[in-house]
């Protein structure tokens, strides 16, 4: 089923272990500063794993946007609000754990329907994604297929994304007051 075994797939285990430890530490820590920094580290780790998973464009975006801008936004919000969070009360802890365990069990039940990891002939990898590879050569003739799909074949998607970012920027400006008055009010 798996034709080629290359060395890079051994890094999967390393990154999975590190991501798990970072995720659990984020949930357990009470210092918001540590949680925010660990979120940045989580993004960074997932971006490195993206490189190992052949998704270099996604890794680039995740490094710049996920590890950079998100961390700065969270740090800024932490500055304007508070540094510590209250511990989780026991009743809430058990209720959340119950919800999470049920949802996780349902997802594990659906695991058998997922394609095998790394299978080139799985339904997800066999049809339209691979057709874009050959179509790009005839239609657009640029080397990076991800860019070709993003800006040409699915260009309307990208336009919608721009609308979403514009709406979010407008919403932030309306909520916090135009002209950056929000930071000064706290001082």
């Amino acid at each position: 089923m798996i034709q080629t075994v290359d060395l890079t797939q051994y890094f999967d285990y390393v990154f999975m272990a590190m991501l798990l430890s970072v995720g659990i530490a984020v949930v357990r820590l009470r210092s918001l500063f540590a949680a925010v920094m660990l979120t940045g580290v989580y993004s960074l780790l997932s971006a490195v794993w993206f490189v190992s998973l052949d998704a270099v464009d996604v890794a680039f975006t995740e490094a710049a946007v996920g590890a950079g801008i998100s961390t700065v936004l969270l740090l800024g919000a932490m500055l304007l609000t508070s540094r510590e969070c209250n511990p989780v009360p026991a009743s809430r802890h058990w209720a959340a754990l119950a919800v999470v365990v049920v949802a996780g069990a349902l997802l594990f039940y659906a695991l058998g329907d997922m394609p095998v990891y790394g299978d080139p002939n799985s339904p997800a990898n066999a049809y339209v994604g691979m057709e874009y590879m050959t179509m790009t050569v005839d239609d657009i003739a640029i080397p990076n297929v991800v860019t070709a799909v993003l800006s040409s074949y699915r260009g309307f998607d990208t336009m919608g994304e721009v609308f979403v970012v514009f709406a979010a920027g407008l919403g932030v400006a309306l909520l916090l007051g135009l002209g950056g008055a929000a930071g000064k009010r706290e001082d």
Binding site: L7, M18, A34, M37, V41, V51, A63, L75, L79
Partner: protein, 118 residues
């Protein structure tokens, strides 16, 4: 001179172990500065890992990402330190001087002002 994939793989694994050790310090770190140091060092090791990985699989694209990380890591460290020194990311240097004059803290203002970020 050709690349030696097994050696690169071993070096990359060693760097991954170093990253994991940095994560341990990041979890434990008693003070804030320990955490900042651990994040900075973690970023350096990530850059090294990516570079070794790129040479191992002979792929030039990952080098660009490593370059981006190297830039981002440095800027992030300086930004976090500035944030915790001045409690704000948007304080201008002139405002810092005014604030110092108001609070009467003029002991080291002349020397520390030009460095700004640190």
């Amino acid at each position: 001179m050709t690349s030696i994939p097994i050696l690169d793989f071993a070096v990359a694994l060693g760097l991954a172990v170093a990253m994991a050790i940095m994560l341990a310090r990041l979890f434990l770190g008693p003070t804030l500065y320990d955490r900042v140091l651990a994040v900075n060092s973690f970023g350096t090791k990530t850059v090294l890992f990516l570079v070794v990985f790129a040479v191992m699989v002979n792929r030039g694209d990952a080098i660009d990402i490593a370059l981006l990380y190297a830039l981002l890591n440095f800027i992030a460290t300086i930004a976090i330190l500035k944030f915790f020194r001045y409690r704000s990311l948007e304080v201008a240097l002139s405002e810092i001087a005014i604030r110092r004059r108001d609070t009467g803290d003029d002991a080291q203002s002349d020397r520390s002002e030009p460095t700004g970020g640190a």
